[in-house]
Subunit: 333 residues, 2 copies
Amino acid sequence: MVRILDVAKHAGLSVASVSRVLAGLPGVSEATRERVMASVEALGYRPNLAARRLRSRRTDTLGLIVSDIRNPYFVEVGRAVEDVAYAHGMRVMLCNADEDPEKERFYLDMMRDENVAGVILSPTLSLLARYRPADFPFPVVLVDRCENDTPADAVVLDNVDAAQRLVRHLIDAGHRRIAFFYGAASATGRQRLQGYQEALAGAGLAPIAQALKPTADEAQAAMRRFLQGGGALPDAVVASSGLILLGLVQALREAELRFPDDVALAGFDDMPWTRVVTPAITVMAQPTYDIGRSAIERLLARIAQPEQAVHRIVLRGELLVRGSSAASNTKTV
Amino acid sequence: MVRILDVAKHAGLSVASVSRVLAGLPGVSEATRERVMASVEALGYRPNLAARRLRSRRTDTLGLIVSDIRNPYFVEVGRAVEDVAYAHGMRVMLCNADEDPEKERFYLDMMRDENVAGVILSPTLSLLARYRPADFPFPVVLVDRCENDTPADAVVLDNVDAAQRLVRHLIDAGHRRIAFFYGAASATGRQRLQGYQEALAGAGLAPIAQALKPTADEAQAAMRRFLQGGGALPDAVVASSGLILLGLVQALREAELRFPDDVALAGFDDMPWTRVVTPAITVMAQPTYDIGRSAIERLLARIAQPEQAVHRIVLRGELLVRGSSAASNTKTV
DNA sequence: CTGTTAGCGCGTTCAC
DNA sequence: GTGAACGCGCTAACAG
């Protein structure tokens, strides 16, 4: 291993000068800088990160804890976070809490042990309920999930509004009995439920809400049970997330039910597959890359100025009307 | 910050004893162990990882560099790697090289700087072509991509065989003009091309191969161009990966072509959406979780015994015949 | 079984 | 503008 001392010797300088050059500090002559860089190159020197972190007590690492890496939404958010972070010379540790408060706790502890500069977090409901900034030894930016009164930086969709608009679209299309399958274990699922309820109430309609765990498998099972319940089919079914939407479609296929003929369909997240099923599925698209980019920019700003006021960044969803939501007497593709 | 010295004082012991207990080393009395643990608990002590790594020159971190995090295949592999790693008390740094040799180089350098204990890598073609174990300061296990003569531990599908069986199935179903859209920038894509060619040659048929970058967008564009070429439509089209398959389906939908009526379809990877399009799509499924699990187990074994012989683990794909591959005169769902 | 202590590689004073 | 020296918190070698 080549150490900073080796570079100093090779350049005929002291370790202090080498350190200054490497840190980009002022107060170094151009000649010295060049000699150092030449020696670094010649010896193939790489700074020892462990030593640097021990000594400086700082880290160029950020954490990103997502609640489900299988959700393309979080994959896209992660890509944006990485892009911006690396452009700023920081690295990102991506962790998957899998909607499990225990894993979430584990990863948060790990972030602390790694002494990260900050964390972007998609919190479980239980963490959000008792969220206190002071509980974390690093700045945190919430993403995707946040209550109105959570005292934290956050980047979220306007979930109530988005769900309202999605459901109103269905109402406008002529649907009356509209079921809602939502992830009850996240703030986001609950807010979308609220938007759903408000839209129905505004039209004098009765809600049919199904709470479930936000995975495709759980949604498929829930829809299966729902169908076996034997009651009349609703006019339309709405999913509160892309993964849930996938599960619903799986169950409908399984039951050989067609949309929108047998039941209309709509959901969240503009996943690629929603455009290849026939008819294509009406969705409320989220600006995923923007969400990720805003979150990391917020975090970097917070790190630079720890004492500034809390920012809540709320983004608007985009309704993409496609064939799946048509009234059954006006089928389209 | 509470240091190991604070724990030692609190317990009335030396730092050595505390260190021994924390490392789980033998030669410590039960009474001492308990006193240490009590003090650790009482003070909320967390070891400083930077100091530990600096001093011990070891790390409990593994690297996983995937070539495209948007590919659900790699997401599943990653989940398996994480599960096993954490069960062994190791952490995983997940990085997305995005099929970019420059990013790949960047992450490999980063792994070196982080002094990881080992890396699981899905290599670009250019890296694989000049692969030498000695070029890496840590053990490496290749995953998904590997040439027959690559001198490295690896876990891969039997790509030639898998592609052969998939294409033979199409031939058996009565298709004659079979096109193949494959990712030319990976060893895996090329091996699957070979299997495709061999299957066709065995039946005396002529290949129609389209090389492209392995993303859905590129595949969609390639298929679009192919269709605009104006020639006769092939009987069937095969995709060498799940992402390419998605792009093909997008282009077919766009052109309002139906499968298998207008053209039969098959591909790799049993992605959830392949079951919700109608008809469902015939695919060669990969044992993704097994691939990830085998890779991490191989890596841990290699770390434990650096000098053992190279292992190449080859897994078999599973053909899932569904409606999309039927001959056009025997349509099914 | 337990304690003392050197030093991992680096950043950062403080002299010069 | 540059160099010498201390110590970050920990592990491991050695002494007892």
